[in-house]
Amino acid sequence: MTDSLKTLTAGMLATLMLFMSAVAHAEPGTAEDSKAVAERVEDLKKKVIRLNRDLFILEEDLLFPASTQFAVFLSVDAGEFLKLDAVKLKVNGDIVASHLYTNRQVTALERGGMQRLFIGNLKAGTHEVTAFVEGIGPNNRAYKQAATLAFEKGTETAALEIRIQDRSSDYQPMVSIVEWE
């Protein structure tokens, strides 16, 4: 009987020690294996990023050559007076892009991010771009505003930015389209 008690108590204490030692010790063999796999995964991640980069560039070179490439970005400066909801983009009278924003996207824009709303091809010459912005404006009212820009596309890549800014003079949002040099 006493032996059984000793066995039981010893068993329990062994378990106890096992739990306690789990904090300090790790299995050396498995740790090495894990490290090897972790390093392999890390190396693969780098390679996948590189491949993704090459494919990104290849896609642009193939579909949007520099001579005709035309991109439109969108940014929100502060976003105090407009909670962005949706954007529609027209190029030469045709709708080429529209986007509904999630909260996460709006936050990313308000924190200084810029969304590439559209990428396409345009011939050299004069073109007209119109952006329609919708959202919740001051006093929680539905807000819509449009901005238009006529611009000259040369033989280089063209990039425009739809800029939504806070106008402190009248506490209203302001939408403008600017050209990146």
Binding site: L8, I57, L62, A108
Partner: protein, 666 residues
Amino acid sequence: MTPPVAFVARVYKPRIGARLVAVAAGCLSLMLGVPAAVADGTLERAKDPVYGWVLYNYHQGEAFEALTLLDVARERGGIRGHGDYPTLLEGGLMLSYGITREARDLFTRLLEDANTNDSVALAPEVRSQAWFYLGKVFYLEGDYPLAYENLQRVDAEVLQESDSELYAEWLYLRAQLAMMSERYRGKGGDKAGDETLIENLRKRLKHSGPWAHYLSYNLAMAGIAADDLTQAQQRLRELITSMEGETPKDELVSEHRALLDKSRLSLARLYLREARFDDALTVLGAMPLDGVFTDRALFDYAVAATGQGEMQRALDTLDALSQRALFVPWREQVPYARGYVLEQMRRPREALGAFSQAAKHYEIRSNELIAARQALTEENLMRRLNVLRNSDEIITDSYGRLRVTPIDFGLSEVLATESFQQALGELNELYRMQALLVQREDQLSTFETMLETRRLQRQRRSRETHVELEQQQAGDWVEAQGAFRAKIEAALVEEDAEFFMTTEQKALKYRLDKVAATLAQLGSNANDTTGQRKTYKRMKAYFDWTVANDYGVNRWAAQKQLSELSREVEEFQSQRAAIELLMAGDKKHNELAGRLARNAAELQSLKTQVQGALAQARSILMGRLDSALEQQNKELRRYLLASRHAQARLADQLFRASQSTEAAND
């Protein structure tokens, strides 16, 4: 009942599983703070749309996309107007995406440059926090020398001033490292003034909430490991007293309770080890019945009661424990313990029944485990885990570890280990890579189709151009130009003024020649034509004079026209040659096709590598699970054997007792 395993893991590996999980997120917010710090607290506008686009992805936690864009920007000459901040951002993104070694090199390069190079104007707090996060990542990965190296670079005062929470964590990590080895105790070794470095760090941590408690707990555990049980008990008692007197913030209540219970449990076990059953019962009795460690406390309570000779109390406790629905491996002891206690209570028949039940239970469970081991596949494993998902996407923490709880609680212990979590996370990461590569393979095949379509269109246009060129009769034009040039050159040699006459002059000459012909027909004797002949002569003389006079101008005009024509013909010929060259071969197409082929080959090679890594990760994961199940089975077999021995012993005892009774009756 038992809360998610991750919670248990948090206590076993103090804070590693939970608090430190926020490292990457912290790194990201640090990097986010970077531009702000420069621009006096206001967000700086992107001066390069690509940088803005990177930030857009980065703020949404899309590290892979942001890293790709940064790589694209680098390939195209870099991001303009933001100095070294894109690189700093890249470092943070790399940490978040799990490319830690590369991130370390990048940070080291950048932060060391910042010390020597004025163009890298990093605010001191940004620099200190970056070193801190880097050190923390290495600590998490178990690379302690590097963790120590980076944590040592932190400016303590700057960090304390900029973020007291990080400062506390920094002290904690330093103490943890110092506990591990003397190598991590700095130049002064174990001494910091009159006290040990660890003690000094602990004192500095005193008012920093949970970190100080975790450190105290870990120091007690280190005491146990060093066989200094008196000191360990003393530390645990102090910790329990200190924690009992505290009221934590709402968000820390459950964590506080869990650590307090864990400390009580550890102290009680130390008392049990020294057979101080009364003390153990007192400590365990103070534990709540709805805590994380209630089940273990109940079992230890039963052990203490047994040791104290209070068998009924022990039995009641074990019965209460048997009623618990969830099953974890350590609780396999309960059926055997019930039999043992009943035997101690001198109730051999009930004890025999309990041991018999225990043996049956162990046998069934053992067979289940054998079957589980034999049918062990990744699919089976996944079926036994509940992975947290957001629509179709598996949710992971900032380190890529899956949010997972076991459906089969037999897995909870193995799942709680850091190595298993890491292996599971890596497996998931490799699957994501595999899916991405399949997606990219589709994309490449679309590109191939596009390129082929382009080639065919080009061929068609080349054929059309050929026909058009033939219709232009380019050879005739060139021949005509050559003949014209020869005529002009001959006229120049002969100074043939007539040749260079203007169209008007030629018309006048024609008319004069006509008049001359008419006069010639009339004859030289005709008196009535004298006047006309005079007029003709005068006109002719004037005409000749005009032609001679205009010769220089006309010749120059003809030469000018000839040279213009020559130029046009030359341009025409060079254009034609260029078109013919373009038609003969497409350099652009070949270049794109070459890139496409290279990318396709790289993609295939990556797919093979991912496949290999997947097999390795899978085998490690399965190996771990298999050893865990094997270990469980060994334990079960031990209990089964002990139960059967007890059964035999009791049956024998009862048989002999019945025989003695019969003999007495006879």
